[in-house]
């Protein structure tokens, strides 16, 4: 345990402070121990800390080729994910950063090959054709990954695709193979890849357009190898600087995510509506604040007892203030909704169903969103979503893209974390505690069909469309980080 944080309760801000002074390895260890002890928890602090840490890692790594950098990031990422698999934001950020690195590498290679006069050979159609252009335009700069979703993270292809040794006919020279920017996997690719060539057509795909490398096991990525070599041989663009820029962009994104989501507020909250929300989420508060500047409405706030009620009460009374909770320290301050003339009604979670008939809209903030459109949110969210469903009240979920995880929920029970039962029944009641099991789940899993709309920093989308956003943000080769227990 590094000594950097002695004397202060360790938290996100102390970690970020110590990051500057401590060396990388002990920073990683520190972060892991903070994660394990839940001293950094919830999506945003985890995402921030992960991005900052990896920024340091990248800056401190001496790299000879891109592959090394990727290996290094994956290695750190694996350790972080293993430390706290249920904080999916950690894994998400690691994957996003790996995506940045790969993108830089590919750009590098592309520039190189264009420079030497090699234009896409006929055998490999330009991937940009295969992509759906409007998507890459709409989404953020780091997302043009035309790939599909949801390979379980711990899936290993048992059967290797039978690769036949193809002999290139005379018409093809080595450039054809070189031009394959993202080498196309064999048709039965174990990945969700929609490689440049459509996955359906890949059954018949011309083997000439393929990478000569056989299906790599996930985790190791030999597929990137040719790029690395090419990068070496060309005069290098500064990969490291590019990656660092990419990570900084990601950090910027994390910063503005709430504001971007809040921009949609006026489209969804109308005058005199009654909105129900839950927990003290900063994203939701900002969203409501933005709407409150123009419109008058009523907020019914479920208090999220016993895990988040203190913060919820504080948010209602004081707004966002320094010191409301140790993770909130980096958050900016905001006024309470009541100060803007909004009526806020605080209710216990148990009253949700009773009041639902009067509610016009439910707004939830998730802990993480999964690839199939379902979500994890603070305990009580499922009750609210089901009550809303039975009253046909629309449920809107506000989630930054960083909460969006490519993991497929094979077993939803595994995803739920249990917290301190002492919050439900205090430890003073020893006699009572002896006789019963008390559990305190921190999260609820909410099925996709309970959600009507997701609002991300890229705009609104239906739960059934989330797979697309996942596909645009994560590389399929990165989905498996090798971490266990997160699916």
């Amino acid at each position: 345990m590094p000594a950097a944080i002695v004397g202060e309760t360790p938290s996100l801000s102390t970690f970020l402070k110590s990051l500057k002074s401590t060396d990388v390895e002990s920073s990683i260890d520190l972060f892991i121990s903070l994660l394990k002890r839940r001293q950094i928890k919830n999506s945003r602090p985890c995402a921030l800390a992960t991005a900052q840490l990896l920024l340091r890692v990248v800056a401190a790594t001496r790299i000879r080729d891109v592959q090394q950098l990727i290996d290094r990031i994956s290695e750190v990422g694996r350790r972080l994910v293993a430390a706290q698999p249920r904080e999916m934001a950690v894994g998400n950020i690691v994957r996003r950063i790996l995506g940045v690195v790969r993108e830089v590498a590919e750009e590098d290679e592309r520039d190189g090959s264009l420079g030497s006069g090699r234009v896409s050979g006929a055998a490999s159609p330009d991937p940009s054709e295969a992509r759906r252009p409007f998507l890459t335009k709409t989404f953020s700069g780091m997302s043009p990954l035309g790939q599909s979703v949801t390979v379980p993270h711990d899936f290993h292809p048992r059967v290797k695709t039978p690769m036949i040794e193809y002999t290139s006919p005379p018409g093809f020279d080595a450039s054809a193979e070189r031009e394959v920017k993202r080498p196309v996997l064999p048709s039965s690719a174990s990945y969700a890849g929609l490689p440049p060539v459509s996955s359906l057509l890949s059954l018949l795909e011309d083997p000439l357009a393929r990478s000569p490398i056989p299906t790599p096991p996930p985790g190791s990525s030999p597929r990137i190898q040719p790029m690395g070599k090419i990068t070496e041989s060309k005069e290098k663009i500064d990969v490291k600087a590019e990656v660092i820029d990419g990570i900084k962009e990601l950090l910027d994104e994390l910063e503005v995510v709430d504001n971007q989501i809040a921009e949609n507020a006026l489209d969804h909250i109308h005058s005199n509506e009654i909105i129900l929300t839950h927990t003290s989420s900063q994203t939701v508060q900002k969203f409501l604040m933005t709407a409150a500047r123009k419109r008058k409405f009523t907020v019914v706030h479920a208090e999220a007892y016993p895990n988040n009620h203190d913060e919820t009460h504080a948010t209602i009374v004081n707004g966002g203030k320094k010191g409301t909770g140790d993770e909130e320290e980096v958050d900016e301050r905001w006024k309470p909704l009541t100060s803007m003339g909004i009526t806020v009604i605080l209710i216990p979670d148990t009253a949700v169903f009773a009041l639902m008939s009067r509610i016009n809209k439910v707004i939830l903030a998730p802990h993480s969103v999964l690839a199939n459109g379902s979500l994890l949110a603070a305990a009580g969210a499922s009750t609210i979503a089901l009550a809303a469903k039975s009253h046909r009240v629309p449920v809107v979920v506000l989630s930054g893209v960083y909460k969006l995880s490519p993991i497929y929920p094979f077993d939803t029970h595994e995803l739920i974390e249990y917290g301190d039962p002492g919050k439900v029944v205090s430890y003073e009641e020893g006699e009572f505690m002896d006789k019963v099991d008390v559990i305190n789940p921190l999260y609820d899993w909410v099925d996709a069909d309970c959600v009507d709309l997701y609002i991300t920093n890229l705009g609104g989308c239906a739960p059934s469309f989330l797979y697309r956003i996942v596909a645009d943000h994560y590389r399929t080769e990165d989905i498996d980080l090798g971490g266990k227990g997160s699916s």
Binding site: A122, V151, P162, A192, L200, N372
Partner: protein, 342 residues
């Protein structure tokens, strides 16, 4: 003229692991190899004709049309793309003819991939309901049964409820029997029930897996008779209902209802003392414009056997489609199809 129908049927009987779309593709490749042709449009014309012939001869052409459509699109996109300057026609033809077997191998490997992917859905203590008859589901369950250790005795303990249709003579039932035996061999308890007992069992079931003959554009599936009702019952009982299918079974079809599959099935056969009233119905329906359109295309021979009949399961009943490229939501199917067609 090349006997496409005969070759197709022979391929299906020779190799029991082959699926209909892949058999269709292979048959078409053999046809191209057999027929000398030197131009693109000649080849496309040939493929078009053979496809039509094949569809006409096979009562239920939905599944095979996935293969023929895929093949045609592949030819078109590769042969007629202006950028494909240096891939000349001969090369393409040689590639297709030379690698026919590879495609089949790939298609089979897809099944193994799905099995590897799908086994993660099977967890300790699960009770799985399947309607059998699907090779992919069978191999997935076998994979789950022996997953995670080498001695063919898996660590996952689950049970299987296998829905058998009443008539147990068809080839599909043989397949089911083999799968059931294989699972029991691996210490997985299997119960067989008639399809009438699905609702009765549904409360014990954790999740349902079914195979598909074709996955249609809106994410629904065309599958053997009875799948639709399993889907409805699973939905009613709030149980996940997964489709296991290779992505080459995606077919460009948008059925509106059960009768809208473009094939004729003599399932609902009204009879009076004078015999079937089918003919009168036909006359009446024939005047309907939409249906007339379908009929004009091709008059498929009646498939009388209920064993071979299929139904259409709409996408809202489906929790996910397990393909070799991952677990797709039904809404993702259209995108895959759009990619090859447009």
């Amino acid at each position: 003229m090349f006997d496409i129908v005969g070759v197709y049927k022979r391929l299906l009987t020779e190799d029991e692991d082959i699926t209909m779309p892949v058999a269709a593709i292979e048959a078409l490749i053999l046809a191209i190899a057999d027929t000398p042709s030197s131009t693109v449009s000649e080849t496309l014309d040939l493929v078009g004709k053979l496809t039509a012939e094949l569809k006409r001869a096979i009562p239920n052409s939905i599944s095979l049309s996935a293969g023929t459509d895929l093949f045609q699109q592949y030819l078109i996109s590769n042969l007629q793309r202006p950028s494909s300057g240096n891939v000349d026609f001969e090369q393409m033809r040689a590639h297709l003819v030379g690698n026919g077997k590879v495609f089949v191998e790939r298609a089979k490997a897809a099944r193994e991939t799905i099995a590897g992917l799908g086994r993660h859905f099977v967890r300790d203590g699960n009770v799985i309901l399947t309607n059998g008859g699907s090779r992919v589901v069978g191999s997935m369950l076998r994979e789950a049964a022996e997953s995670s250790n080498g001695n063919h005795r898996g660590s996952t303990r689950f049970k299987v409820i296998w829905v058998l249709s009443s008539n147990s003579v068809s080839a599909a039932e043989d397949e089911s029997a083999a799968n059931i035996a294989a699972l029991r061999e691996r210490d997985i308890p299997v119960a067989t029930i008639p399809s009438t007992a699905v609702a009765y069992c549904m409360d014990q079931v954790t999740q349902c897996f079914v195979g598909a003959e074709g996955v249609v554009e809106n994410g629904g599936i065309v599958s053997r008779m009875g799948t639709y009702q399993i889907g409805m019952l699973a939905k009613a009982a709030n149980k996940p209902f997964y489709v296991v299918s290779e992505s080459h079974k995606f077919v460009r079809l948008y059925p509106i209802n059960q009768q809208d599959l473009g094939i004729e099935q003599n399932v609902v056969d009204f009879r009076t003392a004078k015999g079937s009233v089918k003919d009168e119905d036909d006359a009446r329906v024939g005047s309907d414009e939409g249906v007339a359109d379908v009929e004009a295309q091709e008059k498929a021979p009646l498939s009388t056997a209920l064993d071979d009949a299929v139904d259409y399961t709409p996408p809202h009943l489906i929790s996910g489609i397990i393909t070799e490229s991952g677990v797709l939501l039904p809404s993702a199917v259209s995108e895959e199809l759009i990619k090859i067609w447009f």
